[in-house]
């Protein structure tokens, strides 16, 4: 028996090592949602992100200059809009007061910096410099000044990993701002699409897409993108809506995390899709 094992090892050791490691990889693939694995991941990326943040700061200097220019322009435009909105807000408050409604406009935004980007055509993720110590939790939305960027996937004490829009595992409930029709948006590895939209639904090129209030994770509308193309599916019944995102992960350096604490009751009732792998 020992001779046989020795013979097999001597002649096929490369294949044996390969088979063992492939089985190990497949086993690890099935354990992605295991809390122990998540803990190991949080420790690993938390430790490494502290190194990458220093390195990224140094490299990012020129990009920050460009981003500052864009931000200054956006700031000027927003200032004009704010003054308009302020007048409308005063009027709105008066009217709300008359109707006895509560103000729901203030949102808890945490400014964070991207410390590394794992660019892949299918599993695009970013690491940000805020974690559970700052109250960041998995499932919180990440946005830039232009629009929705992604969703927090896992956190360590000081860092978090977020799945971006260009990640096949992120699926979002979105709505057409004009026609108020909801749909499921996902990254199919090539493009951002709203899937299985009946042909009779009112979607037009140029319509703005935002996150939908019916989403179990993002219950407020955050701008996502604009419809670029409407593609007819092969069956002819359903359309595939191509969306161009407002926020491009490749150029974004500073983002915000929206600290939304969802109702526990609602969370227990609804499916939290960010856990899906």
């Amino acid at each position: 028996m020992l001779k046989l094992l020795s013979y097999v090892w001597d002649n096929f050791k490369e294949y044996l090592v390969l088979v063992i490691l492939v089985i190990l990889s497949l086993t690890v693939l099935t354990q992605n949602n295991n809390p122990q694995v998540q803990k190991v991941r949080a420790f690993a990326f938390g430790s490494f992100a502290s190194v990458t943040s220093v390195f990224y700061n140094f490299l990012n200097f020129t990009h920050i200059q460009n981003e500052n220019e864009i931000l200054r322009r956006a700031n000027a435009e927003l200032n004009i809009q704010v003054s308009r909105l302020r007048e409308q807000g005063i009027l709105n408050n008066e009217l709300k007061g008359l109707l006895g409604m509560k103000d729901t406009s203030s949102l808890p935004l945490v400014p964070v910096r991207i410390v590394s980007k794992s660019l892949s055509l299918t599993q695009n993720t970013i690491t940000i410099d805020a974690g559970s110590a700052k109250g960041i939790k998995p499932g919180m939305p990440v946005l830039s000044y232009t629009g929705f960027v992604g969703i927090i996937q896992s956190t360590s004490d000081d860092y978090s990993i977020a799945r971006t829009l260009k990640n096949v595992d992120l699926k979002l409930t979105v709505k057409n701002e004009r026609s108020r029709i909801n749909g499921i948006m996902k990254w199919d590895g090539e493009k951002l699409v709203i899937i299985d939209v009946p042909k009779t639904y009112d979607f037009e090129i140029g319509d703005r897409i935002a996150t939908s209030e019916i989403s179990s994770i993002i219950p407020i509308p955050i701008p996502v993108g604009v419809i670029a193309k409407i593609e007819q599916s092969q069956t002819g019944i359903l359309n595939l809506i191509h969306v161009t995102p407002f926020a491009e992960v490749i150029s974004v350096e500073n983002v915000f995390v929206l600290q939304i604490v969802e109702s526990d009751q609602k969370n227990k009732l609804e499916l939290n899709f960010y856990n899906r792998q």
Binding site: E14, L29, T122, D188, G189
Partner: protein, 162 residues
């Protein structure tokens, strides 16, 4: 304990640091070169098939953990990449495939297989054109990685790693 067992560990951290911080700046339409794969292939040809397979598995697993990828996806693809690159190892073949432009050809074919396996766990959508998926997710990154692998051939003092 031979020094060669520590070299992949020493090389891993600077390479992954560059992969996550510098490489995003040189991406073309979000297609990026895979520097870890180049390192895995280099070690596999230098030190043999088993060493390359083990290096691929370790690199893949740690990269999955720190990058937010599906844990196990890079591990599997890089294990197989390390194994395939090991076929170009050996006393007579090492110099031929490691120090000439043949290295880039090995990187291209191994990278293609690595990217196809990695994509398999990410883009399982039967509505998309499989040829288009292979072109965008496997061929383009492989070409970019191959171009970057030329640096390994032209950078001097490479033999110091041995």
């Amino acid at each position: 304990m031979k020094l060669k067992y520590f070299i992949p560990l020493l090389i891993f951290f600077p390479v992954v640091l560059i992969q996550l911080t510098v490489v995003p700046f040189i991406s073309i339409q979000e297609v990026v070169p895979d520097l870890l794969l180049i390192a895995v292939i280099y070690f596999s040809i230098s030190f043999g098939q088993i060493f390359g397979t083990l290096t691929g598995a370790s690199y893949g697993l740690i990269y999955d953990l720190i990058s937010g990828n599906l844990i196990g996806s890079s591990m599997l693809s890089k294990t197989i990449a390390g194994f395939i690159a090991g076929y170009f190892s050996g006393e007579t073949r090492r110099d031929k495939y490691l120090y000439t432009y043949s290295f880039s050809i090995v990187v291209f074919f191994t990278g293609l297989i690595d990217a196809i396996i990695f994509s398999f766990f990410s883009v399982i959508d039967f509505n998309t054109n499989i040829l288009l998926v292979l072109f965008n997710h496997a061929l383009l990154p492989s070409i970019y990685t191959t171009m970057m692998s030329i640096l390994v051939i032209i950078v001097p003092y490479r033999k110091n790693f041995e």
